[in-house]
Structure formats: structure tokens, C-alpha cells
């Protein structure tokens, strides 16, 4: 689904991603862990070109998206992203939050989009919030809306950047539940998270990132149960 070749990203002379290569299969769920500032978000954001790679190549669905003539907007339509701080549009109702992009981009008609929004809202148990505004929702509800807003575009892959880190503890579960459901539907997912329970349960593969490199990659059992790299061990001993 997505192949990252020798990806580097520098902010000024601060090298954040250092010659990173990785491949994510269709339907695979990859959880990315690592210490703060290690470059996890930057890695994720490079995948949908919210950050422009300094060097390297990214192939998404057979297309070199780092090449000059790649249509960034077309590519992003197929890659959903969920942010730590939800980033719902506060001036638009929940329904409008969801229908704006597909209608503006001509993917769905207004009626189709509203129909689809209803179905998705129903699926995450928020149908009665269709006409509410983001400020009227709890954090967990906002994040569930943010997820279904991305799904409106029928993405081939979803990127999650610490989707539960800004939530009160009692709301983490409801968001992870939606993500698990998405995973079992076969969505290709790359998830940066500190929720090790989620990683164990859902991930096909866990990547440990530090210093802009993938230091360890394996099944949750391998990485959590029998880490090879010293820094992985050190990190896990702190968070587990």
C-alpha cells in the first residue's frame, strides 16, 4: 500500500528523520511507538505530505507521491488523517464538517454525502449530534467525528497521530473501539499511540522509532515480549 524509501526530513539543520525505509502492506495495521521528539509525527505527516520530505521517495498505491508531477490533493483524498487535537471545523455543524470535502471535491453529491454522513454517524453512535457544533461535543465524541469525517472520503489508508492523547481517560475507550472496528473492517492503518494495549490487540506490526530511525520492527509479541534493541528495552521499561 505504501512504501517509504530512504526518507529524510530536516527542519533547518535539525535532522528529524534519518534515511528511514519502511513498507506497509494493504490491510496491515502498524503501530508506531517511540519517545517524545523521536520523529513519529513527522514520519506520519510525511506520508501524506503535510511535511515535505527533504530526501527520499514515497510510493503510495503504486504511485510515486514525492515526484514533481504528483497531484497532492488527489493523493490526500485517499489517505485519511486523524489528529491529536481533532481539528474539527468549529464554524460548521457536524454534518457539514463531514460533507464539506466530498461535496466540494465532487466525490459525492450533497444528498449522497448527507446520506453517507448519517450512516457513519449512526455507526459510531452519534446520529443525534448531526446538527450539533463541535464545541457542543466531548473530546471522545469529537475524535469519533474526526474519524468518520475522514472516512467520508473512502480512504485507502488511515493515519492516526496520537488520537487519544488529548482525551480524558474515560473517553479513550470509545475512540479505540471505533479504531478497532475500522481495523477489523480491513482498513490499512498507521497509528502513532501510547496505548500499548491497543497495539497488542490490533497491530500486525509495531515499529519503535528513535532518533529518526526505525530501531525495531516486529509483531507486538516480539517487540513487547522480546525486544532486541537496547533503546527499545529502555523505552518499554518506562511505559509498560
Amino acid at each position: 500500500m505504501i512504501t517509504v524509501n530512504h526518507l529524510s526530513k530536516a527542519f533547518g539543520d535539525h535532522l528529524v528523520l534519518d534515511d528511514l525505509s519502511e513498507h506497509i502492506e494493504k490491510g496491515e495495521k502498524v503501530v508506531i511507538i517511540g519517545p517524545s521528539g523521536s520523529g513519529k509525527s513527522t514520519f506520519l505527516r510525511c506520508m501524506n505530505l503535510l511535511e515535505k520530505p527533504t530526501a527520499g521517495q514515497i510510493i503510495f498505491d503504486g504511485q510515486d507521491i514525492t515526484s514533481k508531477d504528483a497531484d497532492i490533493n488527489k493523493i490526500r483524498m485517499q489517505m485519511g488523517m486523524v489528529f491529536q487535537h481533532f481539528n474539527l471545523f468549529p464554524h460548521l455543524s457536524i454534518t457539514r464538517n463531514m460533507t464539506l470535502a466530498p461535496v466540494k471535491l465532487g466525490v459525492l453529491s450533497k444528498d449522497e454525502a448527507e446520506e453517507k454522513a448519517k450512516k457513519l454517524l449512526d455507526r459510531v453512535g452519534l446520529l443525534e449530534k448531526a446538527d450539533s457544533y463541535p464545541d457542543q461535543l466531548s473530546g471522545g465524541q469529537k475524535q469519533r467525528i474526526a474519524i468518520v469525517r475522514s472516512l467520508m472520503m473512502n480512504p485507502k489508508m488511515m493515519l492516526f497521530d496520537e488520537p487519544t492523547s488529548a482525551l480524558d481517560p474515560e473517553m479513550v475507550g470509545e475512540v479505540l473501539e471505533v479504531m478497532k472496528e475500522l481495523a477489523s473492517d480491513g482498513m490499512t492503518m498507521a497509528v502513532v499511540t501510547h496505548e500499548m494495549g491497543f497495539a497488542r490487540e490490533v497491530a500486525n506490526r509495531v515499529l519503535f522509532v528513535d532518533g529518526g530511525k526505525v530501531l525495531e520492527s516486529g509483531t507486538p509479541d516480539q517487540v513487547f515480549g522480546n525486544p532486541q534493541n537496547e533503546r527499545t528495552k529502555e523505552f518499554l521499561s518506562k511505559v509498560l
Partner: protein
Amino acid sequence: MTNLKEKFISDFIVDERWRYVTGGLKVTLLVTLLALILGCLIGMIIAIVRCAHDQRGEIEKKTFGNALLDFFNAICKLYVTIIRGTPVLVQLLIMYFIILVSFKSKVTVAVLTFSINSGAYVSEIFRGGIMAVDKGQMEAGRSLGLSYIQTMIEIIIPQALKSALPSLVNELIALLKETSICGYIGLNELTRGGDIIRGTTFDALLPLFLVAIIYLLMVLGITAIFGRVERRLRQSDHR
């Protein structure tokens, strides 16, 4: 008292002199309204150019598009610097006697001058409003596949306008009052209307106070209208 009544009659009734006031008021409103619309248009375009430039992040490559943006950004900055750095009266005189000297219509000269002038101020107001919108909003829009311009129009600008509204109203009030300098190019707007009566009847008191009261009422009207709009917007905040 009879003195005042006589003055009133000679100031406003004789020869239908009240027409200087109403005619002037029309011109003042026309110039203000057109300059407001054009100024907002200019201001919005400048604000978008400057924000696109500033939010581009680090300069990645020397592409043609980037060079073009640098160029327009420099022009916009120069424009704002010059307009904000010189008195509007001087700008008006330069426009009338030099740049637009072939223009017959004084109204056009006034409208263009005040559009260009308030465009510079409005651009800074819009720019502040756009910069104040959380940058996650742009990222969310872009990550859904919307283009920069689509995200600007649908997501950023509506939020920016809301926070910029009080400053925009201030600018509108300043603009309305500033048009009173148009007398310098012989345009018969409200202030000059009152002044013509003063010059004819040699009574300063009534015509000038009347003009002042009309300005005051217009400003109060604008304040009241936009106060209501703001309250509406705040209600839709749902906090």
C-alpha cells in the same frame, strides 16, 4: 430665539440650501460604501498572498511558483508600508493632481484613493485574523484533499472574519469619517456641503453642528448594527 430661527431659515430653507447637506450625505455614503467593498477585496487578496508566503514554511526549492509568491509578497509589503506611512490627504491629492489627473469624476478618484488606503489597513486586519486561526484547521482541510484556496475560503476565512469583525468595524468608522477630506479636491461630500452653507450665509454654528450630528448618528448606527451581528456570532459559538 428668533435669531436662531432666522439663521435656520437662511442656512437650510432659502434656495433649498438643505440640498447641500443631503447631496453631500449621498456622496459620503457612496464613497464610503464603494471604498469599503473594494478595500475589503484588496485587503483580502493581500492578506492571502502574505499569509500564503509566511505559512509556506521553509523554502524548499527555487521553483517558479515560489519566486512568483516572493515577488507578490514583496509588492504587497511595499504597498502596505507606503500607504500606512503617508497621510491619506496626501494620497488623495497625489491621486487627483498627478496619477488620475485625466479622470473627470471626482467620486471615482475618491473611491479609488480610499479603496487603496483602506485596503492596506484591512489587509493587516485580515492577516491577523487568518494567522490567529489554529494551524490544525489548515492541516485538517488539506488532509481531506481540499486545495489551499478551497481550505482558505471554506474553513480559514470564515473563522478569521469572525475574530476580525470588531477591527473591521473600527476601520469602517474611520473610513466614513476620513472621507470628509474630499473637500480638498472639490468633491461635494457631507462636510463640504456644510462648509458651503457656512461660506454662503456666514453662519458656522448650525451647518457644522448638523454635519457633526449626522456623522455621529451614522457611527452610532454602524456600531449598533455590527454589535448585533457580533452578538449573533457569539451565540453560534455554542460554548
